[in-house]
Symmetry: C2
DNA sequence: ATGAAAGCGCTAACAG
DNA sequence: CTGTTAGCGCTTTCAT
């Protein structure tokens, strides 16, 4: 039932001006030690809490960082990246607010706009798989809100991005499959609107090509959980007259589903079909057989992206700071499912 | 580089007053169709976006709901609950901002205070496992910010809570173990600061008692990942002279780790030792053997908690609305690991 | 070192 | 239906 006190209240009680209180509270050098003491004491006595809305409105800046990710759950990657973001944000005195786009374009637009309107200091986005238009992002930037993309980027607009070397990661694991002697490698790719799908697909194809394999008969299924889910895709693969002896899935999440489906069809991994994923989700270590995958530096992506965003927020010359593309390395994890 | 326009800008251009613009934008009935048209047109022409800070400051309310959860990842439960929260929030025009306490008390306090200071309309909290003092929550309520606890509650303060029937869930799965003929059931409990640990522990003990079992020699290990992690706990159990023939873990997360450890020690589940978890995490269906567990209505918890919070936010008589304790039912999932 | 005054961008009586 | 006038609670010149 407590009244909510303002600087006014404490100014009155101390018989000084609002301005002085405001300064004292922010530890402004122009305030005497004694006044500061008095103010702080009174503040804690009244349990004063600064109204951040008012503060931000007046000072025209906030300590909020908005994060928009496709989904918070299921993908261990985002959770990890988020931790990285939060670590850095905290160190620099920012609070992060997280929004989910649920992989929906319209929802992403909504969230971004809501964040901009809430006058966040900056925004970190990992694009939804439906996103193929970037006006909302452009718009945010135009409205002086720095934006940094992480993990899922685009070349269509000028913007800082912190990504993973998806191409190389896919290339390496495909190559590993080839080295292991698998002759007929299928690829379950993701929606091609996603940069990561494209790059992983390309890495896959190039690895085949470079090994002198025909890429024309490489069996690729685009699997986006809408028109085609992993379960169905697996069935199709199993139904092929020339059944692949290895499957490279563009994500661990897919790989897990495929594994489940293979098992329930009595197909042995890796004896009958080898299986590889992408992400480095901890679950790949738990399933049987353990899944080979491409480990991503998820936490570090978050860290780098947040650091860059904060730099863009705090610079006084955005113009000459420009944009960066940072590509982080992956790490091939060879496990039971491909050996 | 775009200038950021305000209602003032559009008022000037249209030669009307700010108030009318403000009203038109909010679709106030007192504004003529034509003016509304003009205003909206001009607004979109200038790409006007309302400054929510100013709006909220003036109207003294926000459309933000803060959520504080121990951790966003790893526990599928929270992700699910969050989805439920977001669904309801969206339906009612609220935006949710999510904060992690990382299971740390101090971090929880920080997050709650930050949310209150940002003048969120209300807060949903699932307590950290370190939390045993509730001043920060009391404080938020005192400052007119409704708070609802979900999943992890407490009886120490008067507050609305949406919980799961942990006691009954634990009782039932323990009973199932007993029915299956397991004679020596161990329990890996969680930190006793957590209401859910206590209730699950009690459910376990009572089930034994009611079956006429001696509870004094029931082997219970309190396992909080700090003083004792699941791996170590498993080793201890395996080292027992009178080795248990079943283990009931207070969480699926624990159960998975135990399972891993049992396997790596060549112990067969359920032949040598049966294993059960709690939560209904999808991972329990993926591991081998599939884990018996107690399914929680995670999404629904989120839904109910959010609904209640919004009710408390929007009521004009908080006093007589009072608090509620809502206990949702669980569902026993019997699978391979206990049969 | 402190105060007075203006204003951030919006909403909300109150008039008319 | 529209305009005028005050604020919301804080920051920020500009004086003193």
């Amino acid at each position: 039932m407590g009244k909510v006190y303002t600087i006014h209240d404490i100014a009155i009680r101390l018989n000084i001006s609002k301005s002085t209180v405001s300064r004292a509270l922010r530890n402004h050098p122009d305030v005497s030690k004694e006044t500061k003491m008095l103010v702080h004491d009174m503040a804690s006595k009244l349990n004063y809490q600064k109204n951040i809305l008012a503060s931000n409105l007046a000072s025209k800046n906030t300590n909020l960082i908005g994060v928009v990710i496709p989904e918070i759950a299921r993908q261990h990657f985002f959770a990890q990246a988020l931790s990285g973001i939060q670590k850095v944000a905290k160190e620099h005195g920012y609070i992060v607010m997280v929004c989910q786009s649920n992989e929906e374009f319209l929802e992403e637009i909504n969230q971004v706009n809501a964040l901009v309107n809430s006058r966040v200091a900056g925004i970190l986005i990992s694009l939804s798989k439906e996103t193929n238009d970037y006006k909302h992002i452009q718009n945010a930037q135009d409205r002086q809100t720095p934006v940094v993309l992480f993990d899922r980027g685009t070349d269509k607009i000028e913007i800082s991005q912190v990504l993973v070397d998806d191409y190389k990661g896919a290339y390496e694991i495909t190559n590993h499959l080839i080295q292991q002697g698998y002759k007929n490698i299928a690829h379950l790719s993701g929606p091609m609107s996603l940069s990561i799908s494209q790059k992983r697909y390309k890495g896959f194809m190039d690895a085949l090509k470079d090994a002198g394999r025909s890429t024309t008969d490489a069996y690729v299924l685009q699997c986006d959980n809408l028109s085609l889910d992993a379960k169905e895709a697996t069935e199709r693969i199993l139904g092929l007259k020339k059944r692949p002896d290895a499957i490279f899935c563009m994500s661990d999440y897919m790989a897990i589903q495929v594994l489940k489906e293979l098992k329930s069809n009595g197909v042995k991994v890796p004896e009958d079909i080898a299986l590889a994923g992408f992400a480095g989700d901890p679950i790949t270590e738990i399933v049987e057989p353990q899944l080979s995958t491409v480990e991503q530096p998820a936490f570090d992506i978050g860290v780098q992206a947040a650091k860059r965003l904060i730099m863009e927020i705090e610079t006084d010359d955005r113009e000459t700071l420009g944009f960066i593309h940072k590509i982080l390395n992956t790490n091939l994890l060879v496990r039971e499912s491909t050996t």
